[in-house]
């Protein structure tokens, strides 16, 4: 019997360099199903998030049911099914940052830019996320703005930095 998917399957364009890169990676891992998490990391690095066609592609190549791929993706916080925006603002809410007022940072960003935690602004420019702990407790409260760690930042400073980033283009 032909296997049917809940979603229509659109093959990935083979010309996309990211697809080629991903295919090479899967080949290197020997298409082992247990390499799923490694492959997902590679895919998220290439696309910035995990689009559904990519997941279907991985499921087909590694011979894992789509449901299992999907369940694995949604289990881990690190993987995202949505685009995270051009600029990402990751606010650490670990214990040390919590003690030093990470909540105020979250509120300031939410109020100024109108983006809730875990959401992306309407124009896809800014994505705001909260991290469990980025392990930089000596720098609390810490924020990662586009892969750059901002140490001991206050609400006004953070808002200014984000504005700077948004206006840079």
């Amino acid at each position: 019997m032909k296997r049917t998917h809940g979603l229509p399957y659109t093959p990935m364009p083979a010309t996309d360099p990211r697809v080629k890169q991903l295919d090479t990676r899967m080949k290197k891992e020997g298409y082992r199903p247990d390499a799923l998490i490694e492959i997902l990391h590679a895919a998220q690095n290439a696309w910035g998030y995990l689009p559904m066609p990519v997941l279907q592609h991985i499921s087909l190549r590694l011979r894992i049911p789509p449901a299992r791929v999907f369940s694995t993706v949604t289990f881990y916080h690190f993987f995202s099914l949505k685009s995270q925006g051009e600029h990402t603002c990751l606010i650490c809410t670990g214990t040390a940052c919590y003690v030093k007022g990470a909540q105020q940072l979250l509120e300031a960003v939410e109020q100024t830019f109108g983006v809730q935690v875990g959401e992306v602004s309407a124009d896809n420019k800014l994505g705001v996320q909260a991290a469990r702990c980025i392990g930089a407790c000596g720098l609390a409260p810490a924020v990662v703005l586009d892969e750059e760690v901002q140490a001991k930042i206050d609400a006004a400073g953070l808002v200014a930095k984000i504005k700077e980033k948004l206006e840079a283009i």
């Binding site: 082992r32 199903p33 247990d34 390499a35 799923l36 998490i37 490694e38 997902l40 990391h41 299992r68 369940s71 694995t72 289990f75 881990y76 916080h77 690190f78 993987f79 809410t93 670990g94 214990t95 040390a96 919590y98 003690v99 030093k100 991290a131 469990r132 702990c133 980025i134 392990g135 930089a136 407790c137 000596g138 720098l139 609390a140 810490a142 750059e148 760690v149 901002q150 140490a151």
Partner: protein
């Protein structure tokens, strides 16, 4: 590579680095990197060249020196002079003062802004004086991206000793003799664990390194992996030899980019030198290590969940027994230890178990690395002998509370631990004493709170964490953490009643007893310990039930 070649390489490395009279170490841990440490290093190297000192003074990057708050840090050896908050623009002045005028720059010395008289030799500073370093001994001294520096500091000597002159049983006996206990938090005797895996006969066994440091407020494993990755690798290899495994996996948190990169480099260099691979150092022992990157799930720190995650599945725990020692990764006997546990192995083998057990207390031997953070003057990474009192850590090493606040509590063990109030400040930090106060050692996060912290909200914060991180497999944890969180939220919002507190206590017991794994089993700890030590804070918030009825709210 055989034994002689290892000795030759070590001698060569010693000579190469020994020919410099002095060394400038620039801390390139995650925290210091965030404040431009790489540029500082570059500028210092340029300044050394300009002053014609580059043949006498070596400048290199190193791992964490411990004081992440004061970064970027620059240390000059052999004087142990540490400069704080160095900017790239300061490099030239610093080099001139230190090496040309030979007068240390007073105003940039460590703690120049907070101590009346900063120390030129940082080892005299109370922050360092009280510490005893085994795991972090070379962290902040050697370049973690260069295997030669590790070789020059007796690296892989323990492996050599094990492979040429010790039987696996002898290695296990030595580890047992050292009385080393698991540094992941539970404190299970390491030697006993090794012996159990050793006794299970199987043609394939695995060694797993747990580097999924998920607790908020903890960064010990990150610093060890960043600062001295080879020590962890060597520990894993010795464990592999002792239990008869040929393959190892290092499971590292996905958020720790730099740690992953440095550990990868370490594996590559070890492979290139023939220290990983087939027939290591001319023996019959073959071993290889692979990295698995975590994907952000706290529950993956639990050993059965970690195994599931390495196998590429959802990280949900499974009932024990069978324990991983018998049936672990792909159904094979598996040894799982924490990063810090492995980092202790090489020194134990080099100096003997007797030497190791001389430090610490009768039941908890050795040292423990703590990540000191929160409302404390000098936060950072410290290593102290087991049994050091909390007062010493907070007031002598940490310099007391930052600002005008009063010490209120210290939180250990993250979301699985508890709070230690002021009256227990003299407690010795070891497994049993912390347990008796309703907290746990945990992996070593130590968050200091002052009187501005609201303990009920702290309990709510940790419960929220456990609620989010519960994997959902078993009902006591999945439903219980949610219910406890909602009740705590009500109390925080000033709508809780005495009834809520009673139910919380009851529920905490059920969740603790009935959960499948350690996450649920320890999730009520922060709640129970705040209830035990700060009951008045709960009482102040409670309202009589009729008050809620009067305002139209129903009693839940």
């Amino acid at each position: 590579m055989n034994r002689q070649e290892l000795q030759t390489a070590a001698d060569k490395a010693r000579q190469q680095h020994g020919h410099y009279k002095q060394k400038v170490c620039v801390c390139c841990g995650t925290s210091c990197m965030a404040s431009n440490a790489e540029q500082v290093l570059q500028h210092i190297q340029e300044a050394l060249k300009e002053n014609g000192l580059d043949q006498e003074v070596e400048a290199n990057l190193t791992g964490c020196m411990g004081l992440c708050n004061q970064g970027p840090l620059v240390k000059v050896l052999p004087d142990h002079t540490i400069y704080q908050k160095v900017t790239p623009a300061d490099a030239d002045e610093l080099v001139k003062a230190q090496f040309v005028a030979k007068q240390p720059l007073k105003e940039m010395l460590l703690f120049a802004d907070t101590r009346p008289e900063p120390f030129v030799n940082a080892n005299d500073d109370p922050f360092f004086k009280k510490q005893h370093k085994i795991i972090l001994k070379d962290c902040g001294v050697i370049n973690p991206e260069d295997i030669e520096e590790y070789l020059a500091h007796d690296g892989y000597q323990a492996l050599d000793k094990v492979l040429t002159s010790m039987l696996p049983e002898e290695v296990i006996a030595e580890v047992k003799h050292s009385r080393l206990r698991g540094r992941g938090g539970a404190g299970y005797p390491t030697g006993l664990k090794w012996e159990t895996v050793y006794k299970h006969v199987n043609d394939q066994k695995y060694v797993v390194c747990n580097g999924d440091e998920g607790d908020p407020g903890a960064f010990m494993n990150r610093s060890v992996l960043e600062g001295n990755p080879h020590s962890v690798l060597e520990g894993m290899m010795i464990a592999g030899y002792a239990i008869g495994a040929s393959k190892g996996y290092a499971y590292i948190r996905g958020e720790y980019r730099l740690a992953i990169k440095r550990f990868e480099t370490a594996i590559k260099q070890a492979r290139k030198m023939g220290l990983l691979g087939r027939q290591i150092l001319g023996s019959n022992f073959s071993f290889d290590v692979e990295i698995r990157i975590g994907a952000g799930a706290f529950v993956c720190g639990e050993e059965t969940a970690l195994i599931a995650s390495i196998e590429g599945r959802r990280g949900t725990p499974s009932p024990r027994p069978p324990y991983p020692a018998e049936c672990g990764l792909w159904g094979k006997p598996t040894l799982i230890n924490n990063v810090e546990t492995y980092a202790n192995i090489a020194p134990i083998i080099r100096h003997g178990g007797e030497w190791f057990s001389a430090t610490g207390t009768a039941k908890s031997a050795g040292t423990k690395v703590f990540a000191l953070a929160g409302k404390i003057k000098y936060s950072g990474l410290i290593e102290v002998p087991m049994g050091t009192s909390l007062r010493e850590i907070v007031y002598e090493i940490g310099g007391g509370i930052a600002g005008d606040g009063q010490f209120k509590a210290a939180q250990t063990g993250g979301p699985s631990g508890g709070c230690i109030p002021e009256q227990h400040l003299d407690v010795g930090m070891d497994y049993e004493s912390l347990m008796s106060l309703g907290s746990i050692m945990g992996s070593g996060g130590l968050i200091v709170m002052d009187d501005s912290s609201d303990m009920v909200d702290v309990a709510r914060f940790f419960m929220e964490f456990c609620m989010d991180e519960s994997c959902g497999k078993c009902a006591p944890c999945r439903v219980g953490t949610k219910m406890m969180h909602d009740m705590l939220q009500r109390i925080v919002d000033g709508q809780g009643t005495q009834h809520d507190v009673e139910r919380l206590q009851e529920l905490a017991l059920y969740v603790k007893e009935a959960s499948l794994c350690g996450l649920g089993g320890s999730a009520p700890n922060p709640l129970l310990s705040t209830l035990r030590h700060f009951p008045h804070e709960y009482e102040q918030r409670l309202v009589p039930p009729h008050a809620l009825v009067a305002t139209g709210q129903t009693v839940k």
